[in-house]
Amino acid sequence: MTNETSRRGFLKGAGATVLGTSVLPFLKVLPAAAAGSDVIVAVTGQTINSLDIHRTGTNRPSYQVAVNVYDRLVSFGTKTLEDGSLSYDYSVIEPEVAESWEFTDDGMAIVFKLRPEGKFQDGSPITAQDVKWSFDRAVSVGGFPTVQMKAGSLEKPEQFEAVDDLTFKINLLRKSKLTLPDLAVPVPMIINSKVALEHATEEDPWAMEYLHKTPAGSGAFKVASWKAGEQLVYERNDNWTSGPVPEVKRVILREVPSPATRRALLERGDVNMSFNMPNKDAKELSGTEDITIATTPIENAIYCLCPNLSFEPFKDKRVRQAIAWSVPYEEVFQTAAYGRGAPMWGGPSATPADIAWPQKFPYSTDLDKAKALLEEAGYGEGFEVPLSISLSQTDWMEPAALLIQENLAKIGIKATIEKIPGANWRTASLVEKRLPLHLETFGGWLNYPCYYFFWAYLEGHLFNSSNYRNEEIETLTGETLHMPVDDPDYAPKIKRMIEIAWDEVPRIALWQPALNVGTREIDGYEYWFHRQLDVRGLKKS
């Protein structure tokens, strides 16, 4: 490939000059140091398995391609967190491909004006027809993209209208605060429909096979090369029209499965970034000279212990509360998370003061209280229950489960740890919802408490693995889900929902997990709710 040849030429030119065989033994110091000011090398443990987020089977790490290589109509702003690291800003929606937008007078449609100068990476203009085709695709292909679009009340192609080349209209099914933010998640990316349609066939009208390996976007970076299981190379799109052209020319993302190896590479300075580091490495490396560790609590996500209401003793809320009083929170947080993240226990009051979510549950470790509650519920002599964990998440589930098991034994509950294979975990815990007591992790992309409740507390919904049902929560969630946050009714209703969730504890919060990213010699790393690497703002320091 020509661009690979130029990569070598470039590297040779930039500082390395002549790489004769005689200097080869010293080549290893070259990458981070001599790659110059515009190449960044990052390592991650995960595999990118597709360049198309709409495809069936596309895994989470692949979402970053949608972020870096494609644009959306709108994006979120950026804010600086307390510790000085950057994060996207949920409260600010910024233009990306769209220049401006406004709601129609009745509030039942949004009209977007596209940037007239907007260009795809092949130089062709971005038109409203491209946006319509891309949105039609996202709501039609099924699976994850369709579900995510639906969260923003974007459900069928008839809603999308290309008024003229630069005007795009979305007809709303209902007024919902979730619609606009849902346009800024990775899924509603804008595809160059002319290119895609050239490669569409009768069996494959959405060009799934073509876009799987060949992106056709307008984003800040192009994919220079991709070898699944090894590496992905991003190359800057010098003519990016949806934002300021990035400072770095090239980002090399290398897949290194072993965390020990990734850590050695970062410590030695051969790479600039280790994305999604284990908590242990993040803890041990923080404070190291030249290495910056950004640990950002993941918004709207909690690691939970879930007692399942289909298991007889857990039908009684006092038994669930007893479990919540028995968990050794501090030890679990320190052992399983190495103290990275945010504590979710020890809240001061049983009624929430504000609508922040997640916030500290009003439980802490108090075995006497737990025993008393069990007595009261008629389970004073205890019972036996399996405590299930997933084999593919043993890093935190195993230590947490062991500590919980130990404390449950102290209040007379005999828990046996049951390890379930990763491939079976989702089916058992979320689909069949048959695990009596288990650990669970849900995080919502759209950062509203009502959105969390929608997925995790409504009966039958996927992440409600406790089979919980409460009439009041069912009603309140339905009412608040689409309601604007500044509606005077919103806060009281949310507070009531949180209060019920605390009192009835179908999900016992352990802690809020965090995303750890180690960097050296680079600035501009920004945390995003999708927890994938956004390379657009990176620069060498």
Binding site: E4, T5, R7, R8, L11, L19, T21, L24, P25, L27, K28, V29, L30, P31, V41, V43, T47, N49, R55, T56, G57, T58, N59, R60, S62, G142, G143, F144, V147, Q148, H212, K227, A228, G229, E230, Q231, V233, I252, R254, E255, V256, P257, S258, A260, T261, A264, L265, E267, R268, V271, S392, P421, G422, A423, N424, R426, T427, V431, W455, L462
Partner: protein
């Protein structure tokens, strides 16, 4: 020669039922595994309807016999299906990854033979000497240290502390261009292209993982060489040869070693087959894009096509390997004939 060719033909024909059996067994076994790929690949927020859509898209809603017929037809036409976890056709994945594993395993075995066989011979000719003890220590250390441990220790010493090994970033550091694909073996491809800079780069990446694997595989080879040499050296024909006044070298290499080679070759074949499938941990530690880690990851997420493709490829490889070993026997010892089997 013609006789040998026809026996090879017969052997290959005999392996066809084995391959057919492997196709059936791998299909049934993957289906018997716990786990539901449709649920797994429908993604985090999938609901019932989208899981059903994914199931239909993957063809998993059809009855098992029908799925098998489709699979068998595809295999017959050389289509191993599409891996869900890597998003690539399985055939392409295997073509990329098998050479990586073979290159690593073969280099490791050559290295291991180069050390273990002379060591075994020396230990056998001087039992109880320092060489014999060295052999014993190496062998014990080799088997008792798990490969991922040796790998991490080697990285720590040679990369992290001393800085003489290249970064453990897989087959080639990203500053080199991958050689044009001919065999898939980087060393061979780079040599064919005359690109010696890349050749050296690939070799340097290969050294640590190959040494790690070699340390592990050295043990059975050295043990077997020593034992076989000891029994050969104590046999009657060696006594006769010595009595006839043949030189020590002639006795050792022409008579004793040649006869001792048969069990060593057998062990080599066995060691090769288990290392190829079992070097997952080495692959992980060195970010080596090999076939072992591919298979394990596919298995974890119930990626049927990839697992079946892997099992089939391994079966074919072993059939070929056994054939080669049997042929080697006849070369080493002319008394061994194929025909009688």
């Amino acid at each position: 020669m013609a006789g040998r060719l026809s026996t090879i033909g017969t052997r290959i024909a005999q392996s066809i039922p084995v391959i057919l059996g492997v196709v059936v067994v791998s299909f049934v076994l993957t289906r018997a595994l716990p786990g539901d790929p449709a649920v797994y690949f429908a993604g985090a927020a999938a609901d019932e309807a989208s899981i059903a859509e994914v199931r239909t898209a993957l063809g998993l809603d059809k009855p098992l016999p029908e799925q098998f017929l489709i699979y068998a037809r595809d295999v017959a036409t050389g289509n191993l299906g599409q891996s869900l976890s890597t998003g690539q056709p399985v055939l392409e994945d295997l073509a990329n990854r098998l050479p990586a594993s073979l290159e690593l395993t073969l280099t490791a075995l050559m290295l291991s033979c180069a050390v273990a066989i002379p060591l075994g011979v020396l230990a056998a000719t001087r039992p109880g000497s320092a060489v014999d003890h060295l052999c014993r220590v190496l062998v014990t250390a080799g088997v008792s240290l798990p490969t991922f441990f040796t790998g991490v220790v080697l990285i720590y010493i040679f990369y992290y502390l001393l800085g003489i090994a290249p970064s453990p970033l897989g087959r080639l550091d990203f500053i080199y261009i991958e050689p044009d694909r001919i065999t898939g073996f980087y060393l061979i491809d780079a040599a064919l292209a005359g690109d010696w800079e890349t050749w050296v780069g690939a070799l340097k990446q290969l050294v640590l993982p190959a040494v790690t694997l070699a340390l592990f595989t050295m043990a059975p080879l050295a043990r077997m060489t020593r034992a076989a040499m000891l029994s050969a050296l104590s046999s009657d024909y060696i006594r006769t040869a010595r009595a006839a006044g043949l030189t020590e070298d002639k006795v050792l290499f022409t008579y004793a070693f040649r006869n001792a080679l048969l069990p060593v070759i057998t062990t080599l074949g066995m060691v090769f087959s288990f290392t190829l499938g079992a070097n997952v941990l080495v692959e992980k530690v060195f970010a080596w894009p090999g076939i072992g880690s591919y298979a394990v990851e596919a298995l974890v997420v119930s990626d049927y096509a990839a697992v079946q493709g892997f099992v089939l490829a391994m079966a074919l490889l072993f059939v070929a390997l056994n054939l080669v070993i049997d042929l080697t026997y006849t070369l080493i010892d002319p008394r061994i004939g194929f025909e009688t089997k």
